[in-house]
């Protein structure tokens, strides 16, 4: 979702009893996988008595997410709001998640951190 959100930004989600409108930024899982995708809703139809179907597209992408849906579930052309959407972005805090991202990208940093913690425990007088 660049340039709106960068890797490491914290997103605050809300998913209680709301109707997803066009233009909202939703977090959904590619069906069958645990990969969350943060994209904007650009089309909706259904709702009310029918299940609400959504089409999403990342702001930085030239095309919509039809290819992403079809990757694991061929023939799926739209997201089902109840099934696939995790939540809708309501707020953001920049950069606070970058610590987690760094530890994910460089796992040896975790070992370094534990080493430092162990060292500080050993060096304390009490």
């Amino acid at each position: 979702m660049e340039p709106a959100f960068r890797r490491g930004d914290l997103l605050l989600l809300w998913n209680r009893g709301m109707d997803t409108h066009v233009g909202e930024i939703v977090v959904f899982n590619v069906r069958g996988e645990d990969i969350p995708v943060v994209h904007r809703v650009i089309q909706r139809f259904g709702g009310g008595s029918e299940p609400l179907q959504l089409l999403t597209k990342g702001d930085n992408n030239p095309v919509d997410d039809t290819e992403i849906y079809a990757r694991n579930a061929p023939g799926q052309a739209y997201l089902d709001k109840e099934r696939d959407v995790v939540g809708s972005v309501a707020g953001t805090i920049p950069c606070v998640g970058y610590v987690t991202v760094i530890f994910g990208d460089y796992p040896w940093l975790k070992a370094v951190l534990f080493g430092l913690l162990g060292l500080s425990v050993v060096m304390q007088k009490n």
């Binding site: 340039p3 709106a4 409108h21 233009g23 909706r44 707020g91 953001t92 920049p94």
Partner: protein, 245 residues
């Protein structure tokens, strides 16, 4: 109690507390800024033609091709906490059954960064008039999301083609009545809550004035009578729109 490690911990803890307090203050301060957005959106032309979603697809669906004028003034929405504004125009029409809410689709969008935001190649660039002679001095002023001498938030489009195809899930869009073109925005802040279009006024935030146009979809036209260029969508305005876009 007074070892260096404890001191460092105290300083770092204080730093994070102050940082969060400042971030919360910045996020809340947005409520104090006054906003007076206004826009005028006008549909210029609409035609409904049979087309295909991709060149290799076998089904023929009805697509609506529109042209619209937009004159928006969203400069007051840019406060010190605004990173960028995502403007979008949606087309919405009543659904076939009363128990289903109206379907809605985005037909055009633009990312308008604030002047302080770092450069990104996929942001909106104000269309400059095409002059036959491309002098070198004119190239320096291109690349801004607003016209010369204005500030971010002024968007002027005329006879603009949409970026995305307009069609209904059922494939039929001819002769649908009570369709609406409307302008919306989403303010993305540096920190805090995302805000969408408000038509009502809340304190210092006035609602959007204008920015809506109602129309009906005409009946299906044979594609031989339409100019080929009218059937295309707007491409190439931002750098990141690869092909097929």
């Amino acid at each position: 109690m007074h070892s260096s490690l404890v001191r460092i911990q105290n300083v770092f803890g204080y730093f994070t507390s102050v940082a969060f307090a400042v971030a919360a203050a910045v996020a809340v301060s947005v409520l104090l800024s006054s906003q007076t957005p206004s826009a005028s959106l006008e549909l210029k032309n609409v035609q409904v033609v049979k087309g295909r979603p991709h060149y290799y697809s076998t089904k023929r669906e009805e697509y609506a091709h529109v042209k619209f004028d937009l004159d928006a003034d969203l400069t007051s929405l840019f406060n010190w906490n605004t990173k960028q504004i995502f403007m979008y125009i949606t087309a919405s029409y009543p659904s076939t059954s009363p128990s289903i809410p109206p379907p809605e689709a985005v037909i055009w969008d633009a990312i308008i960064p604030s002047d302080h935001a770092p450069f990104h190649p996929n942001t909106y660039i104000h269309p400059t008039s095409k002059t036959p002679s491309k002098s070198k001095s004119k190239n320096k002023s291109k690349g801004k999301p607003y016209p010369e001498g204005a500030s971010p938030g002024i968007v002027k489009l005329s006879n603009q083609k949409p970026k995305y195809q307009i069609t209904d899930f059922s494939g039929k869009i001819a002769e649908r009545e009570n369709a609406t073109l409307s302008l919306h925005w989403n303010v993305q802040p540096w920190v805090g809550a995302l805000v969408w279009t408000n038509t009502n006024s809340y304190g210092r935030w006035s609602g959007l004035k204008g920015g809506v146009d109602k129309f009906d979809f005409p009946s299906l036209k044979g594609s031989e009578t339409i100019k080929k260029e009218d059937l295309k969508t707007e491409t190439g305005a931002e750098k990141n729109r690869g092909s097929p876009a």
